[in-house]
Every structure is written in C-alpha cells, then in structure tokens.
C-alpha cells in the first residue's frame, strides 16, 4: 500500500515538474519573440509566436503580438486577422481596439454605414465588449444574486410577519430584465460564433468572382485588410464570401485568412 502511495506521489511530482518545465519553455519562447520584435526582427518574431500558436495553447497576448509583428512586417491583412483573433479572447482590450483603429486607416475599401438606432448601437457595443465567458458568468452571477435576494426577502417576511410583495416583484422584475438582456446577448454571440465565420483579405488586391472558377466574371475588387464573411468553402480552393451582406462572390481561399478556424 505504502509503495503504491509513494509511486503515486512520485508520478504526480514528475507530471507537475513536466508541466512547470513546459510553462517555463513557453514563457522563454514568448520572451524570445518579444526580443525579436524589439530588435525589429519581425519575421523572426512572427516565426516564434507562430511556434507558440502551434502548441494549441493560445492567449490574447500571443495573438496581439502576432498582429503587431505582422503590421510591422507590412502585412496588414494578417495583422488585422490576429488582432481580430485577440479580440475574441479579450473583447474589452483597449490596445487591440486602438491597433485595429490604426489599421483601419490603411484600408483601401472603406464603407461608411448609416448610424444605427441608438438602442441597437448600445446592444452591439455591449456584445462587442463582452466575451462569451464573461457574459455566461455574468448571467450566472445575476441568477445567484436573484436567488439569494429573493430567499432572504422571503425569510425576512416570515420572521417579521410583513408582506414584502412589492419589493419581491420589483427585485424580480429588475433581475429578470437584466438576465433576459444578457441571455439574449450571450445566445446571439454564441450563435454568431457558431454560424458566422469571418476572414480577412490577405492579398494586396483580389478579384471577387461570380463563380468558383478562374475565368469567371469579376464582380468587384477587395483590398488587403478588408473583413469578409465566409458563407461556405469548397475544399481548400474557393470560399464564398459576402462583403457587408450586399456583395457576394467567390474568392480563392489562399487570399483570405479566417479569424476562427
């Protein structure tokens, strides 16, 4: 029995030290990437950060740094792509927003959309600022607070033999409105993530065709950095994309970089 326990402890320690070693390696590699960036060796920095990305463990900082490295390397499309990736993990990251704003200035394709209805605009802003994890946790927290508050009101009314019906209804209404709001935002975000795939144009200038063939009619031209919605893919060759919903066409898959694979 003692042997089994000793063996188990040794095994756990080994696993722990292995994990720790892996963390140390990752940290060092990340720092190497930062050094390469600081030393203006952007291609090397990109290579290092990609190496980290290939480990299947990612962070918004990694994506952000990749975006910066690509930007400095003159690859606007990839820079925007990685900043967009970082934004999915950290929607409220101000540095990401700032860099995306700077990148926007370089875009050739610019569409000025009409102002949204204020309430819808506010909803969209909330959606952009809240990550899926945070909004799930937020609804849970609201749910928990609601239960606790209602429970305590119920207990208090029993003890003092007072009717707290009005307080009960008010609290319930306020919390229900908030819970419904955040639930709709969360479901909407989750659905979008599931059903809507976006990509960034990586080539300087690319023709959007009417059909997935080389000799098809050119419908319109998009430039590097423009964000498109991927409707469907035909193997690794073609993607059907839409630009601001109204312009739809086919593009070579190599010309775009998907934000979420």
């Amino acid at each position: 029995m003692k042997r089994v326990i000793t063996m188990s402890i040794v095994l756990l320690l080994c696993l722990g030290s292995l994990t720790l070693a892996a963390d140390v390696d990752r940290d060092q590699l990340f720092k190497q990437g930062v050094s390469a960036y600081v030393g203006e060796d952007y291609q090397h920095a990109i290579a290092i950060f990609h190496q980290l990305e290939e480990s299947k463990e990612v962070s918004w900082e990694l994506y952000y740094n990749l975006g910066n490295s690509y930007y400095r390397n003159g690859e606007l499309g990839n820079a925007i792509r990685y900043w967009e990736k970082a934004k999915i993990l950290a929607p409220s990251g101000s540095d990401i927003d700032h860099n995306l704003l700077i990148a926007e200035k370089h875009l050739i394709d610019k569409v000025v959309l009409p102002d949204m209805f204020p309430l819808f605009k506010w909803y969209k802003q909330m959606q952009r600022q809240l990550s899926l994890s945070v909004s799930i946790q937020l609804i849970g927290a609201l749910f928990l607070i609601l239960i606790l508050v209602l429970g305590f009101i119920g207990r208090a009314s029993r003890r003092k033999s007072k009717n707290h019906k009005a307080t009960y209804i008010t609290v319930l209404s306020v919390f229900l409105v908030l819970i419904i709001l955040f639930t709709s935002i969360t479901i909407d975000t989750a659905q979008r993530r599931k059903n809507e795939k976006y990509a960034i144009i990586l080539e300087r200038s690319v023709e959007i065709l009417s059909e997935p063939t080389e000799d098809a009619i050119v419908l319109f031209i998009l430039h590097e950095g423009s964000k498109v919605r991927v409707n469907k893919n035909i193997e690794d060759l073609w993607s059907n994309i839409s630009y601001f919903d109204d312009k739809v066409g086919w593009i070579s898959r190599s010309a775009i970089g998907e934000i979420e694979e």
């Binding site: 900082e61 952000y64 370089h106 749910f143 928990l144 239960i147 429970g151």
Partner: protein, 566 residues
Amino acid sequence: MVKIRSKIVLISVIFLFSALLWGQRVSCTLSKTQFSMQEQIQITFTFEDIKNSPRSVDLKLHDAFSVIGGPYSSTNYSWVNGKSTSTNKVSYDIIAKKSGKLLVPAYVFKIKNQVYKTKPIVLMVSKSAKIDALDPSSDMPTMFMETVLDKNTVYQGETFSLNYLLYTAENVVNYTTAPLNTLDGFIVDKFDLSNSPKSSKKVINGKEYLIAGIASLTLTPTQSGEFVLPQKPFRISVKRSGQSRTVFDDPFFGRNTKDINIVAPSDTIMVLPLPSSAGSAFTGAIGEFSMKVSLDSSIIQENQATALHVELTGKGNLEHFAFPEQNFPEGFEVFEPKVKNNFKLKNEDYSGKRSWEYVLIASKPGTFHFDDISFTYFSPENEKFITLRSPVKDLRVISHNELEGDYTSALSPDEVRLLSKDIRFIQMGEGNIFDSSYDPVKDQKNWIIYYIAILFVFFFIVLEIIWKIRMSNMKQIRYKNALKTALNKFQKIIDDQDAELVLLEIEAAFVDYLRDKQLKNNVHADISGIMKTIETYKYAPGMLSHVQLNLLKDQALALIEDIEKI
C-alpha cells in the same frame, strides 16, 4: 304781423347759429420758432369745439422737415358756467432738414361744410447747436449732440464709423434711440447703443458740459459718391431739477425724470471709387492683411484627403469678401472651402483672422506642383492694390502599389506622423492561456456560478419544507412542552415587582399552558375558579397583596400538577 314774426325768428336763428360758430376755432402752433437742425420740435393743431375733427393732418412739410413721431391726439372737455367746451389736439414730432428761414404754411380744414384756416408761421432754423454754442452771443443750450465721423473720405468697401456724442449740462439718467438696420448705399455692420459710455468734461462758452459717446454706427459703403448720413433722433431722460414737488404735480408720485428729444445732426461722407487696376485676385478686401498658407501633408496615399489652409490676419473689411478662387493641379477633387472666422469689429474696422480650408482628394499618384496662392487687397493707407503670394510645397501622392512591403518602412518619420498615431507596443507576457479549440460554452468553469445558484435554490426549498413541517407540528410540540414552558414562566415571575404585573404574568403563564395543552375551562373544576379569582383581582387591584398572589400562584401550579397527572 306774421311776416314780422317770421323775420324775427329767422334773425334769431341766424344769430344763434353765429353765436354757436363763434367758439369754433382751429390753430397751428409750434413748440419753438427758433431752434437748430438737431432739435426736435412739436407741431400741434388745436380744434376747439369742432365735432368730428381730424385725428391726423397731412403736414406737407417733406421738403423742409422730417416727421419723426406722431400723430399724437388728445381731447379735453371742460365745463365753465354750465357751458361745455371741447379741445382736440393733433401733434407731430418734427426736425428741420434745412437751416434758415422756413415757413410752415397755412392749413385749410373743411369740416362739415365749414372751412377753417390756420395762420402761416415763420421759423428760424440754425445749422448746428454746437455752432450756436460756440457763438458767445448765443444762449448755450443745456444739451446738444454731435456726430463725429472717424474718416471724412473712404473708399468704396472700406469700413468706417460714426460716433454720436452727447453734450449735456443736465444729469442724464438714460437714453434710447431706434436701432438702425439699413441705410441706402451702405452695409450697416453694427449699431451700438453704449450702456456705459466713457465721459469727459469740457467747458464751452463758460458752460461745463459732460461729453459722452452714447452710440456708434459702423458702415461699409457699397457705392461711391457723396452721401449725407441722416440725423439720428435720441430720447434722453434727465433728472428733474430739485424744485419742490407735490403729489399733484406728478400723478405718478416718485417719478423724478423728464424725457428730452434731441437729434444728432447729419453729416456728409465722401466715398471714393476703387482704382480700376484691380486684378482677378481682388474680391473686395480693403484694409491691411498678411497671409499664411500651409498644406496638411507632403505625402498622401491615392484617394486620401489632405487640406490646404489659408489664413488671413489683419484689419479691414474681413466680413465682406470671399477668398479668390484658386487654381489647383489636375488630379485633385477640391471641395468648397470651409471658412472659419475669428475676428471682431473694433472701432471702425474688423480685426483678427479669417481662414479657408480646402479639402483636396488625390485621384491619381504623382508629385504635384501647386501654383502660388495669391490674394489681392486694396490698402487705403498706401492707396493701391497689394497682392500677397505664398508658395505651396509639392505634394507627393503614393499609389497603392507603391505601398508594397512595409507600411512604415516606406515612410519617413515625418510621414509616419501623417498617420497621426502608431500602434501600441506588444505585450510582454501572457495572462490566461486557453486551448486553441477553447469553447467558452463548454468550459465548466463558466457554469460554476449556476451550480452554486442551483444549490441555493435547493437550500431555500429545504428551508421552506422544514418551515412547513415545523408549522404543522407546532401544536404537538407546544403540547409536549406545555408543562416545561409553564414552569419556566412561573419561575421567572419576580414576586417583588408590582402586584398587578405579577398577576398578569401568572395569568399569561396559566392561560398559555391551557392553550398549549388545548384544554377548555370545563375540563377541571378548579380552572374556572382560578380564572375567576384572576378576573376579580384584575377589577379590584386595591385588594391585591403579594400574599394573595403567592397563594394564587401556588394554586395554579397545583392545578397544573393535577392536570398533568390526569
């Protein structure tokens, strides 16, 4: 006999009618017959005992006088010795346009087939009160006005101003005048009635005057020629002199001012035409100016916008001209300039800055050379046109293809500034690390709060169940604990306290015991006895003593013991 009588009646009627007409009279009077061109006088027509007299009169004085107020009409009725008389007055405020000997003609009124005629009046009008004032022989007026022009000769388009000076020996409380918004041949830039004018003192012919510029007028002539600037009437409120007054003198008891109408004299200005040598770059600017031109950027991308700023600083008619049209190289879309004004009207001129911002959008790549920006203005000081020229640095427009490679390395530090801001620095370390296939919906950590919440729901449900169970068992619990509770309560009774309180506590302990045991008074014969004793003591508190209470307590405890045994 009949004939004689009828003649007498006819003569009597005629006599009576004549007697009636005897009191009817129309007269014309003027408030002054000797006055200056700056003074406002009143012409009054009085209709005595004339019914349906006119409420206005055609003065026919347009050549010599200007009507500045009226008609003002008033009617008075009076009874003297049982006879009534009515007087209707119609008056106008007038000022003389000319000086010298002027005639107010005889006016003819035809009212109900009767003709009434006024007498002509001769008036002596002097040119200026000030001229009179400077004449030692003349009586010095207590108040007069002077119009002062800052320039007697100006060029067409050159802004100038008039100041209305009030000379007063009286204590002025307030002054008003109608604002002047339009004047033929001029743009009225500003008419300003000063709220707190600066004043100075001056002695003229031994009389001390306070001089104050009470109003000013800034004008820009739009035509050339000699122009007479019209008189300007003012109403001045002065404090009445300190004579003793009664309520009967002044029905509005306490109002201690009187209004004086006074006119600022007209003046003449010569507006000269501008020389004919003005070029196309002249758009009406007159004054003294300097020009500054700047281009926002020296390098831009194709289809990007940049702005050309032209700023004029100086003094002159800044309000009244547009910037001359400029030629821009082909390959630019140029929008209407955005004009920013930052000037103020000071004294006779506008001074400050005026700027024009031209937004240019490059439609093709290349290096573009701009013509000098030119601006011509007329300088009244130098009496000639002056053209300002300012070069514009070349603008390089980069095509999209030129931007292949590094976005930033293709641009110089100056050009990086063009982009106004740079990206933020990279992150030095990592925070939370996720699996690349991380799905927040599937992450159990995000759902922990829900589990806690559900636990709380269960917790509250359990509490509710316990509560309900306890409520249903309450009677049983009370039944079981009745003796214990009663003994506790009896023990806690303090005998030393007020007898009435002790009685109430005994009653409470005993009644609670009976309730917990769910017993009625007829269960035991002694129960009713004890209850009756308690009731008796309650209604006769004077009879109460601690001995009796102790006895009652013992009885109650003995009864409880009996009941328990049963």
